[in-house]
């Protein structure tokens, strides 16, 4: 691992992965999706995970997002050993600390923009009055005021991803995980979305973006490159192109 600075102790890290292994059974052959992954992520970091498809970057993201469990190794999130939690406790951690953004947005088609943004609050059991207040605020912040009552099929790609980002961040998670967030968008809209994510990062949210596109990856302050389930380079670009 390149560049392991002394301040990156597991105890103080937001995310600490140690010796993470994950294998899938594909037919009769074992696929090593993650091998011996060690990673320390500090609060407020902006990380791009890059690599060819099948290199394990999505698995890493799912692991960090508690959608997947490692076969071996320990995962500490905010100093807490996550792998020992049961499914419901993990769901609670996902709800409170993690926000997901997907390439294909994953908006619920029958719900309006406001309804989609409201979903995490509903699932968390927030009373209806407070929910609508926070949704209204989020709509304003993300410039979706006039789109509140439109369904996803009435929104442009950029608007859809903005709704998805609003939904992912409405509970103010510690980590924002984005899997190819610009993959389904044209260049200009993609730029816009990346800038939005970077603004959120500037406000203190830890941002981890999986991409196989070099350009947005280069903007991140820290670039992790994966191949065959292992981290092959971990470069900190202290200056960065990002302000």
């Amino acid at each position: 691992m390149a560049d392991a600075s002394p301040q990156e102790q597991p105890e103080s890290s937001l995310i600490s992965l140690q010796g993470i292994e994950r294998t899938f059974l594909l037919g009769y052959s074992k696929v090593h999706a993650l091998r011996d992954v060690n990673l320390q992520i500090q609060p407020g970091e902006y990380i791009a995970v890059m690599g060819p498809s099948g290199s394990g970057k999505s698995t890493l993201l799912n692991m960090i997002g508690l959608l997947d469990r490692p076969d071996a190794g320990t995962y500490l999130l905010e100093g807490r050993d996550i792998t020992t939690l049961n499914l419901d406790e993990q769901a609670k951690v996902r709800s409170e600390r993690i926000g997901f953004i997907f390439q294909s947005f994953h908006l619920v088609p029958r719900l309006t923009a406001a309804g989609n943004i409201e979903l995490p609050l509903t699932l968390a059991g927030m009373p209806a009055g407070e929910r609508s207040k926070r949704v209204a605020q989020a709509l304003k912040e993300y410039g979706l005021d006039d789109r509140a009552h439109h369904r996803p099929n009435e929104l442009s790609g950029g608007q859809r991803q903005r709704v998805a980002i609003a939904r992912a961040t409405i509970l103010r998670p510690a980590v924002l995980l984005a899997d190819e967030p610009t993959g389904n968008l044209d260049k200009a809209t993609g730029e816009e979305v990346v800038r939005l994510l970077e603004t959120l990062n500037a406000q203190g949210m830890t941002l981890i973006v999986v991409t196989h596109d070099q350009a947005p990856g280069a903007r991140a302050r820290r670039q992790i490159r994966m191949e065959d389930g292992a981290i092959v380079s971990d470069v900190k670009n202290s200056t960065g192109t990002h302000p």
Binding site: N62, G65, L67, D68, L87, D88, A91, K92, R94, S95, E96, F100, F102, S104, H106, V108, P109, R110, L111, G115, L119, P120, T122, L123, A124, G125, P127, A128, R167
Partner: protein, 402 residues
């Protein structure tokens, strides 16, 4: 997740696919409506028969000539193999028995009535003055048969309402003469319209004294004797006394059958009650089919909404919450279907009553409740499996489905 939000989410999911939801509710509602309408028919039949039987009076003991029971060979049968006639004297003798309030002899035959140049076929009933009280009939005009010893003698006749209308029209028939067979009889009264009993309307009846009828028909025997007991409790005692008295009068030969109205009523009530239950059972099968349909639709729904389920989990929904959503959706669909079905069923029963006013096709409450309960139960039972499948989905695979 709050319960109310679970319900709202499930309702939105259901209304999000109107066609599928509509078809499912249709299937469920047809099942429930079938239960409601079929039991309404069954119970209507039961009520109809019971009403018909009650309409002939209350606390009645009916005497029929001949034994309905098969018995083994008896040397006496060689000598007296044909039953004796039931006579007017037999009927009179019953009046003296304790616990008996009224006795009516009955003769029935079809004849022709002829008056004012018009001829009509009609049912002739020979009886006595007590008949109107036993049957609880009402007079439209004039009076009933006069009180004579068991209806001997007088050449008088009481007309049914329809007969009077067809023969006399708007004329006053009282005091006029009609010809029945080869006899001329004076009209003394007309029955009120709408009397009925034993599937027979009194509107087309000609009522004459029993002795007159016997003379007209050239017979000594009676068709029935109807005995009214003082109270329901005394029915069995009266039945036994009647049997004993007639047997005595027939030289010790038990050649009559005595039945109580209660026994007949109970038998019919029981038979038709079982019939209703059976029909309800058959209808319930369609509910089970609807339940399987619920499962099918919910399974399809789970498959179609795989990505959504993955998303919900990524957003922090527990497996329990996902399971609840899908179960609640199945239950809501069943509930809506069942409620629509009950409405349809009541509507159908109302249409039946409209078409056949005499037929009291009211769905029994137990059947409505049972239909509703079965619908809900099958919704829950068949909703569990899809809900479990939804809850068990692996979020990564669910999300990777585009």
């Amino acid at each position: 997740m709050r319960i109310i939000d679970t319900f709202r989410y499930a309702a939105q999911a259901a209304t999000g696919t109107p066609l599928r939801t509509g078809l499912l509710m249709l299937a469920m509602s047809i099942g429930v409506a079938a239960v409601v309408i079929l039991t309404a028919l069954g119970d209507g039949a039961r009520r109809y028969v019971v009403d018909e039987f009650s309409a002939i009076g209350t606390n009645l003991v009916i005497v029929l000539p001949g034994r309905s029971e098969t018995r083994g060979f008896n040397p006496a049968n060689l000598v007296t193999s044909t039953p004796r006639d039931l006579t007017l004297d037999d009927a009179s003798s019953l009046l003296r028995l304790p616990g008996v309030t009224r006795v009516s002899p009955i003769l029935i035959a079809t004849t022709e009535v002829n008056a004012a140049g018009k001829l009509r076929e009609a049912m002739l009933l020979g009886t006595n003055d007590e008949y109107i009280d036993i049957r609880q009939l009402k007079m439209g005009m004039g009076r009933f048969l006069s009180k004579t010893e068991q209806g001997h003698g007088a050449s008088e006749i009481v007309l049914g309402a329809l007969i009077r209308e067809e023969i006399f029209g708007n004329e006053n028939p009282l005091g006029k003469t009609v010809r029945v067979g080869d006899r001329r009889l004076r009209v003394v009264g007309v029955l009120a319209a709408g009397g009925r009993g034993m599937g027979m309307t009194t509107d087309e009846l000609l009522i004459v004294p029993a002795a007159t009828a016997q003379a007209m028909l050239d017979t000594n025997t009676l068709f029935r004797i109807i005995v009214e007991a003082r109270s329901r409790d005394q029915l069995e005692e009266v039945k036994a006394r009647v049997l004993k008295m007639i047997t005595q009068r027939h030289e010790g030969d038990e050649d009559i059958t005595v039945i109580t109205q209660d026994a007949v009523l109970q038998t019919f009530d029981k038979i038709l009650g079982v019939l209703t239950l059976g029909v309800a059972g058959i209808a319930a099968i369609s509910l089970a089919v609807a339940g399987i349909l619920v499962m099918n639709v919910m399974l399809v729904s789970v498959t179609q909404r795989t990505a959504e389920i993955g998303l919900l989990k990524a957003l922090g929904a527990t497996s329990g919450a996902v399971r609840q959503m899908f179960l609640v959706e199945a239950v809501l669909l069943s509930l809506a279907g069942a409620l629509i079905g009950i409405c349809l069923g009541y509507l159908g029963a109302a249409v039946l009553r409209q078409l056949y006013p005499a037929f009291p096709a009211y769905p029994p409450l137990w059947a409505v409740m049972a239909g509703f309960g079965t619908a809900m139960l099958s919704g829950v039972i068949f909703g569990v499996m899809p809900a479990r499948r939804a809850a068990g989905l692996d979020p990564i695979q669910a999300l990777s489905k585009r």
